[in-house]
């Protein structure tokens, strides 16, 4: 029964995404501007951004909701994917920069670079750049995860070092010597495949690409969590030591899902950059990574669909709120963190799917058991 419910949920999601993917570009391109059905290009880009955020949230939910790994550094993978895309777009600017240098981007001319740093080579090739979008975050996650999981760094300790990781990367990317634009990051992109990024059609194309990526990402995550491997992941989340004693190599499972998640975040970042037109080190800020966590919490963790809903809802709310009363936004965001953790531990989906979602219920409540003691002294006395 639960599986059909979940299956339905997936179906709803695919249908909704397909609908959004078709109707929104139609409303933008095919209707005249005077029509009440018309959507401006700005809205299309905004929705495209939300889809990228949703993919990031999905990636987070995969590790947090199903494997109990709370990452406070997923923004780093997102930003790395974004930088890989940004580097490709930068190379595509060619001689049209302010300084007109055919090879070097403007900021390098400005900083007196004589030649392209070695790590910029190859990014003029789209396929290479796309490979890097996945490989760079994946490799970082692999190295980081391999070390951390092997030494059994878990729980809040792991969360804190992921935060340190993104903080260190932020500091590094802020430096001009890094050869990635320093403070200003990469911006002033012109076109992709020779088509201007400013054109409405390109915007719509990126929007559709984001939706497709989100659907594909969801399919991948679903495949993982419904497989036997997914069951092991949930076991790791709920009782890591017990799973280890049963003979599972916990580190490998964690590492696998961690790397997949990082790659998904990288793809999200890569789609995000051409839509907003800039990537700079502030994407590495620990605060943005934590903000992504709250999207998942709002939607309901361990549900995948919830992560998507949460990301879209919170960001739509943020767009509206920061437009209306910007000075109170931090109150709203802070309040959201507190209220959701206190009163909505299973998120919006938990609220909606209360009846019959037996499997969801057990899985979310299970961490309350003594398994939490994997990270620190048991708090059974008050649970």
């Amino acid at each position: 029964m639960t599986s059909t419910l979940l299956g339905n949920r997936s179906l709803y999601l695919y249908v909704t995404l397909a609908g959004l993917g078709v109707l929104v570009p139609m409303a933008n391109l095919l209707t005249p501007e005077t029509s009440p059905l018309h959507l401006s290009t700005y809205v299309v880009t905004l929705l495209g951004k939300y889809m990228c955020y949703a993919l990031l949230a999905l990636a987070l939910d995969l590790v947090w909701g199903y494997c109990g790994i709370l990452s406070l550094g997923h923004g780093a993978f997102f930003a790395l994917g974004g930088y890989a895309m940004g580097m490709h777009l930068m190379r595509m600017v060619g001689p049209r920069g302010v300084y007109g240098n055919p090879v070097l981007p403007d900021f390098m001319v400005f900083l007196n670079y004589k030649e392209l740093p070695w790590y910029w080579h190859g990014f003029d090739n789209f396929l290479f750049a796309m490979a890097m979008v996945v490989l760079v975050p994946g490799l970082l996650a692999f190295i980081f995860g391999a070390f951390a999981f092997r030494s059994r760094v878990t729980g809040v300790y792991f969360s804190i070092i992921t935060q340190a990781m993104t903080y260190a990367l932020m500091l590094a990317f802020f430096r001009n010597d890094m050869g990635l634009g320093g403070n200003n990051g990469l911006t002033d992109f012109k076109d992709i495949f020779g088509i201007s990024l400013q054109q409405g059609a390109t915007r719509n194309a990126f929007y559709v690409a984001s939706i497709v990526a989100l659907a594909a990402g969801y399919a991948i995550c679903r495949a993982i969590v419904t497989s036997k491997l997914g069951k092991v992941l949930i076991a790791v989340r709920d009782a890591e030591s017990r799973t280890r004693f049963l003979g599972y190599s916990v580190e490998k499972y964690k590492l696998f899902v961690w790397v997949v998640s990082a790659c998904l975040a990288g793809v999200a970042g890569a789609l995000y950059v051409p839509q907003v037109g800039i990537i700079n080190p502030s994407e590495f800020a620990p605060a943005s990574s934590i903000e992504a966590v709250i999207w998942v919490a709002v939607g309901g963790r361990g549900t995948l669909v919830g992560a998507i809903i949460g990301a879209v809802l919170v960001n739509a709310f943020k767009s509206w709120f920061t437009g209306a009363i910007p000075e109170l936004w931090l109150f709203a965001l802070g309040g959201l963190f507190v209220l959701v953790t206190l009163f909505l531990p299973r998120g919006i989906l938990g609220l909606l799917g209360r009846r019959g979602a037996g499997r969801q219920q057990t899985s979310v409540h299970a961490p309350k058991a003594r398994s939490e003691g994997d990270t620190q002294p048991v708090k059974g006395a008050r649970a």
């Binding site: 980081f144 965001l333 802070g334």
Partner: protein, 544 residues
């Protein structure tokens, strides 16, 4: 444009030259009186040339107030009255006048009855030299010390006679040393000094061993004499080595003071994390709250009791402890106590609280930096060798050590401290023995937050008081706790000091940012080897 012919220039030059020689020949004539009183009486009406000689005579007269008169002349406070007296204007705005030579107050003078005795640039330069020379002879040791240091940094060959003169009389060893070094610095510059004198001078400066000495010796490297060049090269190496040595020491000192700040920031976190296993992301905001409490305390004192301003920081410390501690208890009872057993959710909720508090403070106090003044007893510095110890950094080091000692004593020797340790080591067992664990939790959270508030007061002295104050310290303080291990204050101390010193030692070689990145990467690697920090608690409870 028409070009002037060379002959016009020559004529002009000639006229100029002859007028100068005429002028100086003419100025030789008048004879000056010997007594200072008579000298001064004529000074107002004399031309600059005569004034220069009068000043010279005054300086050599040995009058005890000669120095004061010269300084007044430089400052433009030496005035002449309509009836020919010379006075010095004393008070700033109050405008009181004293007689120049006797120092007695002169009554009944107003602004319109006095006029300034003018000086020109040349005279001013003479005056400075004379004044420096007089200060070197001054009976006050402090004045002589400052004058000697000033003479060294000027090392003006024209002052050599005064220096020699002063050296004959000087008996205080450090001042003598400075004067000798000054003489050496001057000799080194003089083309006609003998090689032996110069060698001795290099040796003296080498013994001084600071950056000033280095720049003086470097000049001798281009000398014609091989012996001098060799001596200079050796001296430069030796001074560089000594500079490097003192540089490391200075960085260690900076590191210790940074470590003390980290200690203050991390210690409260270590307590709450150790006892409750709760990561308090709002910890930085507790520090911010403490900093703003210090700001408010100063504001209140300023208006209510200005005479207490000197002691505003000691007053702010308990105030900040109470404010932040009360806030901590409210948060623990109101929010965190509902989230026990869910550490990751606690992390998120406290992050939300931190956002809330930042925005709250921003709304109340505005986004701009607030100024918290430094009491005068905390400003200034003293030297140990070539190490400059500033009182503000020293106070923070001493203060953080005092707080650490206090907390350790509290944990070890009080009933509540014992309960806290019991809960840290084994919560269930402690509960079974009758410890009211939730009461301990609330007070622990209050204690940790209160200490963070105190840290905030200390931070006002080295950082801007702004709503973002806490954000900049939160990751560093986590690193301290993670590095040092949880539930052990010694670990926090070692962690904080190691990170502080490592940061400051790496800075000169790698730059501030790369240094910081290296430290973060190091911690990330370190935690792989010792996932529970340097000083991990051992036992079943921790491994559970």
């Amino acid at each position: 444009m028409k070009r002037a012919s060379p002959s016009v220039f020559l004529t002009l030059l000639f006229v100029l030259f002859s007028s100068i020689s005429l002028h100086s020949a003419f100025a030789q004539t008048p004879e000056l009186p010997k007594e200072p009183e008579a000298l001064l009486a004529g000074i107002a009406d004399a031309d600059f040339e005569t004034k220069a000689r009068m000043i010279d005579a005054l300086a050599t007269s040995g009058h005890p107030r000669a120095n004061i008169v010269l300084d007044a002349l430089i400052a433009g406070t030496l005035l002449t009255t309509s009836d020919g007296k010379v006075v010095i204007q004393a008070g700033g705005n109050a405008k009181t006048y004293v007689d120049a030579l006797s120092g007695q107050p002169v009554a009944g003078l107003t602004d319109d009855k006095v006029s300034k005795i003018g000086v020109n640039n040349r005279l001013r330069r003479d005056l400075r030299g004379l004044s420096a020379r007089l200060s070197l002879m001054s009976p006050s040791e402090a004045t002589r010390r400052t004058a000697a240091a000033g003479a060294f940094s000027a090392h003006d060959p024209e002052t050599l006679p005064f220096i020699e003169e002063a050296l004959k009389k000087e008996s205080v060893p450090p001042i003598r040393q400075t004067l000798e070094q000054t003489r050496a610095a001057i000799i080194l510059q003089m083309p006609d000094a003998s090689e032996d004198d110069k060698l001795a001078a290099i040796a003296l400066l080498q013994a001084r061993g600071d950056r000033d000495a280095l720049s003086l010796i470097v000049v001798a490297r281009d000398s014609d004499s091989l012996k001098l060049r060799m001596a200079a090269a050796t001296a430069i190496d030796s001074v560089n080595a000594s500079l490097a040595y003192w540089g490391v020491l200075q960085n260690v000192y900076y590191g210790l003071s940074l470590g003390s700040v980290l200690l203050l920031a991390g210690i409260g976190l270590a307590i709450t994390f150790g006892v409750m296993g709760v990561i308090n992301m709002a910890h930085g905001e507790m520090m911010m709250l403490g900093a703003y409490t210090a700001f408010l305390t100063q504001q209140v004192l300023q208006s209510m009791a200005p005479w207490l301003m000197e002691w505003s920081l000691p007053i702010a410390i308990p105030a900040a402890f109470l404010v932040a501690g009360a806030m901590g208890i409210v948060l623990e009872r109101g929010i965190i106590s509902f989230l026990y057993g869910r550490p990751l959710e606690t992390l998120l909720a406290t992050w939300g609280i931190s956002l809330f508090m930042q925005q709250g403070v921003r709304t109340l106090f505005g986004p701009t930096n607030k100024a918290v003044s430094t009491p005068s007893w905390m400003s200034g510095a003293f030297d140990i060798g070539h190490l400059t110890i500033t009182y503000s950094r020293l106070s923070i080091i001493v203060f953080s050590m005092a707080i650490l000692a206090l907390l350790m004593a509290f944990l070890k020797h009080t009933h509540f401290g014992m309960q806290m340790r019991a809960v840290t080591q084994n919560r269930r067992m402690a509960a079974s023995m009758g410890v009211r664990t939730n009461w301990v939790d609330a007070l622990t959270f209050g204690l940790g937050s209160g200490v963070a508030g105190i840290a905030g007061v200390a931070l006002t002295q080295i950082d801007n008081v702004s709503p973002n104050l806490g954000q900049s310290y939160i990751i560093d303080s986590f690193m301290v706790v993670v590095f040092g291990g949880v539930g052990n204050l010694w670990g926090t101390l070692v962690g904080a000091m190691t990170l502080g010193v490592a940061n400051k030692l790496l800075e000169p070689y790698a730059g501030a940012v790369v240094g910081k990145i290296m430290v973060l990467v190091f911690i990330i690697l370190f935690i792989q080897r010792r996932p529970r920090g340097l000083f991990a608690l051992k036992g079943r409870a921790v491994e559970a």
